[in-house]
């Protein structure tokens, strides 16, 4: 019966845009029964987010929505109407989790506070994801992916000193918040299973950045330790060699690492050329010496230019040297490694046709990631979800006419 890790776990999904839907996608893809509740008429704003299939903007053809909502059932409910709210409360009675990412004032304004919900379901795990948290002076502030990057502290040191700080690509911060929220929700669910009581989680995207691992956590504590500010790099600064992005015959590759232990592997990759036989190059002082760096690069730069980024990647790996070709999404989706692992999956979508998208973020031995069905069309599962609550077909017609669904 429990063929996936979360089979049988019921989730009410009041999320929209990216962070919340990515959280519930992670639950749904590993088996949870997720009922996504959208506003009648327009639905989740992500339906209007690009990229669209064949560049045709349409609420049922957003690639983002199609990716973020796989394996969910979709219903529409007007939560401002008494009937809509009553239906939602019925669904919550038997749910294990509720995930929402409204602005913090919305749930209380609908009368849907955790205090009220726990009365009808004491074991409910309610996860509230917001930009800045449910409390504090920024509670009602608006944010964007860029603003969250900016406030998360790492952006300040990303890029070069003569230019503006750089954000991460795409919507990485909101994806990360969604992944953290999925973890938080399952930890609280574990507590409900073991301890018999639910919880209300306050997940601030801002704080999932401040306290995350990457260059920022160390830099925040590093400031406490040293009083130094992490700045953007000066172009041309020597940070050991090779330890940079180098041009290749067909693009670029990120080659090397600044630790001394890697220099012998560089020589191994290059086949120990005579030009680079000065033993000083492999010492701490030599790695900081600009003249020696010049000698090194006089050999190394042409060496890279004669090879493709993939060739250098493979030669580097054979010498145990970290190299990363700077791939485009074309390279990534066609890479033989991901092909062999069948990482990208084809989803059959009623309005979009075949959509190729990233598959399992991790593979579980006994209870796999599974694509059960594509993202729901707006209100696709109204009948399936509301039927068992006692709403007959004619009731649904009335609810629809009243604008409730």
């Amino acid at each position: 019966m429990f063929e996936q890790a979360l089979s049988g776990v019921k989730v009410i999904d009041l999320t929209h845009h990216i962070s919340g839907p990515y959280c519930t996608k992670m639950l749904a893809d590993y088996g949870a029964e997720v009922v996504k509740v959208e506003r009648p008429g327009c639905g989740d704003g992500a339906r209007n987010m690009g990229p669209f299939m064949k560049d045709g903007p349409h609420p049922e053809k957003s690639g983002m929505f199609a990716y973020l909502n796989t394996n969910k059932q979709g219903i529409t409910l007007d939560l401002k109407s008494q009937t809509g709210k009553a239906i939602l409360l019925r669904l919550i009675e038997s749910a294990d989790m509720l995930v929402e990412n409204f602005s913090p004032r919305v749930m209380p304004s609908l009368g849907l506070t955790y205090e009220r919900l726990k009365e009808i379901n004491p074991r409910l795990v309610m996860a509230s994801i917001s930009n800045f948290g449910q409390t504090g002076p920024y509670r009602d502030f608006k944010a964007s992916e860029l603003v969250l990057n900016a406030m998360g502290t790492e952006m300040y040191s990303r890029g070069i000193s003569t230019r503006e700080p750089l954000k991460l690509g795409g919507n990485a911060v909101q994806f990360q918040a969604g992944a953290v929220a999925a973890l938080a929700t399952t930890i609280a669910y574990w507590q409900a299973l073991e301890g018999g009581y639910g919880d209300h989680l306050d997940i601030s995207i801002f704080e999932t950045q401040i306290s995350t691992i990457d260059l920022r956590g160390g830099s925040l504590l590093g400031y406490q330790y040293s009083g130094r500010v992490a700045t953007r790099k000066e172009p041309g600064t020597n940070r050991g060699y090779p330890n940079d992005v180098y041009m290749c015959s067909d693009g670029y590759a990120q080659i090397g690492h600044h630790a001394l232990e890697f220099f012998p592997r560089v020589l191994k990759m290059l086949g120990h050329p005579e030009e680079l036989s000065d033993p000083a190059m492999g010492t701490e002082a030599g790695q900081m010496d600009d003249d020696l760096k010049g000698i090194f690069e006089a050999y190394f730069i042409p060496w890279c230019l004669e090879r493709t980024k993939l060739e250098i990647f493979l030669l580097g790996q054979a010498a145990n040297l970290p190299v990363g070709p700077i791939n485009t999404m074309e390279d990534v989706t066609k890479d033989p490694h991901f092909e062999a692992r069948e990482f990208f999956v084809d989803v059959e979508h009623p309005a979009m046709g075949t959509v190729r998208m990233p598959g399992a973020p991790f593979r579980m031995g006994d209870n796999p990631w599974k694509l059960r069905w594509p993202a729901p069309l707006l209100g696709q599962h109204n009948e399936e979800v509301l039927g068992p609550l006692g709403y007959a077909k004619e009731d649904l017609v009335k609810l629809r006419e009243a604008g409730v669904i």
């Binding site: 992670m26 990229p51 199609a66 955790y114 608006k142 964007s144 992916e145 860029l146 603003v147 900016a150 300040y156 040191s157 503006e164 750089l166 690509g169 919507n171 992944a179 953290v180 938080a184 399952t186 930890i187 574990w190 009581y197 989680l201 801002f206 704080e207 401040i210 306290s211 691992i213 990457d214 260059l215 956590g217 160390g218 830099s219 504590l221 400031y223 130094r228 992490a230 700045t231 172009p235 992005v245 180098y246 990120q254 970290p322 990363g324 999404m329 074309e330 990534v332 490694h337 991901f338 062999a340 692992r341 990208f344 959509v355 990233p358 973020p361 593979r363 579980m364 006994d366 209870n367």
Partner: protein
């Protein structure tokens, strides 16, 4: 209530750098007993620092994220580096030498008493040590094991390795986040891949534990850090698979919103981020610039009145926005725009974060005292739970700090055996002297 959710779950790990350690932190923060197994004979680069015993010159030149208290490495540098200490709270540490027979035996006895084991070494490392999943599941059929190498447990690149930023390059992220007008050597590194893989690993552990409650059986989870990283850039993947468009970088701009950028403010290297998504936010932006009339000479211009007009004229728009932000502090701009419902916020650096009103009001930084480092503010938990008040309980763990507890109380070796293993270099608190 009052108990942490993961109390009673024992997690043993063999991790390096950041992806694995982040998963440890996320589970340890919520009560799991996380035991780091560390070696005294081998120094894992970029984990407890970049060098085992760095020179004073190296320490002074170290990046801020690898700083030592007062820029001094101290007697045991491996216990003092920010690179490690910021994530090392709430964890335990023990030492073993897994390259020797006795070390492997100790490790297996620890696994027999663990619920979870995870490791992020290059694929094949634990198998070569003789402690791969097939061996461990015989010892403990209920064991949940996650391996999270860069490229996964199968496929042609399975044994390949690299740091987070090499994976960022491989997975397309580096190409997507540079200056649109400069080559990617100016992009500087980012390691979102570590953060993403860490959170996914901890999540995989929870799923496998939930499954085990029902079946009583453990399992092996194969997590490729690169695949998680790609998932976080799905919008760009889909633009290629649906439209054949391999996106380049648009820097801080947005595919539909304008203005969207970071703009210079008053002061040295001070910046503010602003995004105007739609006409309503644009009206708010105009009001913020001219509270009385709702528009200025330029904000009222016809070419900026529609989303498409703003998007098509964003070079000009960006200059005009910056003329306004330059005369104000970044926080001033944030308050002025947020008052009108416009997303805006300062580019906060690692110093300014400690003064941010929101982080202060919510107590996001917690004071911790570590014996060899002193008292400092540390980034706190990633989320709050109403029924489970929670704080950092233990400071950054020192190498081998919990040897007695792990070896005697959990594994159950005698005092004599403990003394012998100490003498033979398995158990201790100092890296071997040959490690420079």
């Amino acid at each position: 209530m009052g108990k942490l959710p993961l109390e009673g779950v024992r997690v043993t790990t063999l991790t390096v750098v950041w992806a694995g350690p982040f998963a440890e932190m996320l589970l340890a923060d919520w009560g799991a007993e996380v035991i780091r197994v560390e070696s005294l004979q081998r120094f894992a680069n970029s984990t407890r620092g970049y060098l085992p015993r760095p020179s004073p010159a190296y320490v002074k030149a170290a990046a801020v994220l690898a700083a030592y208290p007062n820029d001094e490495a101290g007697e045991r540098p491996w216990n003092r580096c920010a690179l490690f200490n910021f994530h090392a709270r709430n964890k335990l540490s023990c030492s073993m030498d897994l390259t020797r027979v006795e070390g492997k035996e100790l490790f297996k006895r620890l696994i027999a008493k663990s619920d979870v084991f995870f490791e992020n070494n290059a694929s094949g490392v634990v198998d070569r040590l003789g402690i791969g999943y097939p061996v461990l599941k015989e010892i403990n059929p209920g064991l949940v094991m996650v391996s999270l190498p860069g490229y996964g447990a199968t496929g042609p690149y399975k044994s390949f390795h690299g740091f987070g930023y090499h994976q960022e390059a491989f997975t397309g992220h580096t190409w997507l986040r540079g200056y649109p007008d400069l080559d990617p050597s100016n992009t500087s590194v980012a390691v979102h891949a570590d953060a993403a893989a860490g959170a996914n690993t901890a999540y995989a552990v929870m799923l496998a534990l939930i499954q085990r409650r029902r079946t009583g059986k453990g399992q092996f989870v194969d997590l490729a850090q690169t695949e998680v990283a790609i998932s976080h850039q799905s919008d760009s993947v889909l633009d290629y698979t649906m439209n054949g468009r391999a996106r380049g970088s648009i820097g801080n701009r947005h595919y539909s919103a304008a203005p969207c950028g970071v703009y210079r403010c008053q002061g040295e290297d001070e910046w503010v981020a602003i995004t105007v998504n739609d006409d309503r936010e644009w009206a708010g932006f105009c009001r913020a610039l001219s509270p009385s009339t709702g528009s200025t000479e330029w904000t009222g211009a016809e070419r900026f009145s529609s989303s498409i007009g703003r998007w098509n004229n964003q070079d000009e728009l960006d200059k005009l926005v910056e003329d306004w932000t330059r005369q104000r502090s970044n926080y001033e701009v944030m308050y002025a725009l947020q008052d009108q419902g416009v997303p805006a916020g300062p580019v906060i650096n690692n110093q300014a974060a400690f003064d941010d009103p929101q982080l202060k009001a919510r107590g996001q930084f917690e004071e911790t005292h570590q014996e060899e480092c002193g008292t400092h503010l540390t980034p706190g938990l990633l989320w709050r739970a109403k029924n489970t008040p929670n704080h950092i309980r233990l400071p950054a763990v020192r190498l081998g700090e919990h040897n007695k507890y792990v070896h005697k109380d959990i594994i159950g070796i005698s005092d004599e055996e403990y003394a012998r293993l100490e003498k033979e270099g398995h158990i201790g608190v100092d890296l071997a002297p040959h490690l420079k």
